[in-house]
Symmetry: C2
Subunit: 138 residues, 2 copies
DNA sequence: AGCAACCCTCTAGCTGGCTAGAATGTTTTG
DNA sequence: CAAAACATTCTAGCCAGCTAGAGGGTTGCT
């Protein structure tokens, strides 16, 4: 199958496929005599795996490492599992941070509505924002 | 005050200050005869305002627009207020998305531990990941 | 006079995940 | 047999927010 068909089946663009190849996420496929990439059916599987793994929050680099391990004959799911665990922890952290931000931001928004605009005179300061606690880094 | 001192007081690097100037977030300061940037005390306020606003989740572009309005003599906090409201909505959306992702990811992680590794043989697929629902885009 | 610590401008690169376009070659369809 | 639809490689750019380095000049102290 040619790159266009693979792109169609995998739900990505041909450019994306070539890009994936360039970062060694997809192996170089066979070529036709005229130089066109010629994929087998397994390429669709692999592409979909990438898409699903990406949707699970793994970066392309991480996906590459999973695929590499699998290609090397690694039978265990431990690597994938630990990646997932790590992402779960990150996700929790992120959610906590966002919630904290939300609290502060909601506070700011309320304050901005209660303030007297006429008292807002300093061009380098904003009462709404300056008066608030700084948020944790996102 | 010279750039190094301002950087120190503002908690950023001198490179960052020059960068902010390059994107018109900071105005061009006066210069000494030898060409050094020479800041007044208000620069510290402005830099801190930028930092605080950034911590509130505003992008540098948005901060620039707030500062621009203030410089133009805008007395009302309406702009800032609406920016904050918009960010609040975005934040809520983001949190909801992350929570959804978290649920799916936790499910995946559990599944990966319950699976029999020996049955994981297809180098292009991973039972853990392929079996799951795709997550919403992050 | 020498040296460190500061400052200047300018260009280029980083992160991640692509996307766009130029210039060219091939395959398929009518 | 011509046109369209596909394919190729290559270079360059996007987003945001910086950071690094080259190759200089200035300031302040001894």
């Amino acid at each position: 199958m040619k790159i266009g068909e693979l792109a169609e089946l995998g739900g990505v663009s041909t450019k994306t496929i070539r890009y994936y190849e360039s970062i060694d996420l997809l192996r170089e496929p066979a070529r036709t005599t005229s130089g066109y990439r010629n994929y087998g059916d397994d390429a669709v599987e692999r592409l979909r795996f990438i898409r699903d793994a990406q949707a699970s929050g793994l970066t392309l680099a991480e996906i590459a490492s999973v695929l590499e391990l699998k290609e090397a004959g690694e039978r265990s799911c431990a690597h994938t599992s630990s990646l997932l665990d790590r992402h779960l922890a990150q996700l929790d952290e992120q959610i906590a941070l966002l919630k904290k931000s939300r609290t502060v931001l909601a506070d700011l928004a309320m304050r901005s509505k209660a303030l007297d605009p006429a008292s807002c005179t300093d061009p380098n300061r904003c009462q709404v924002i300056s008066a608030a606690e700084p948020l944790p880094n996102l």
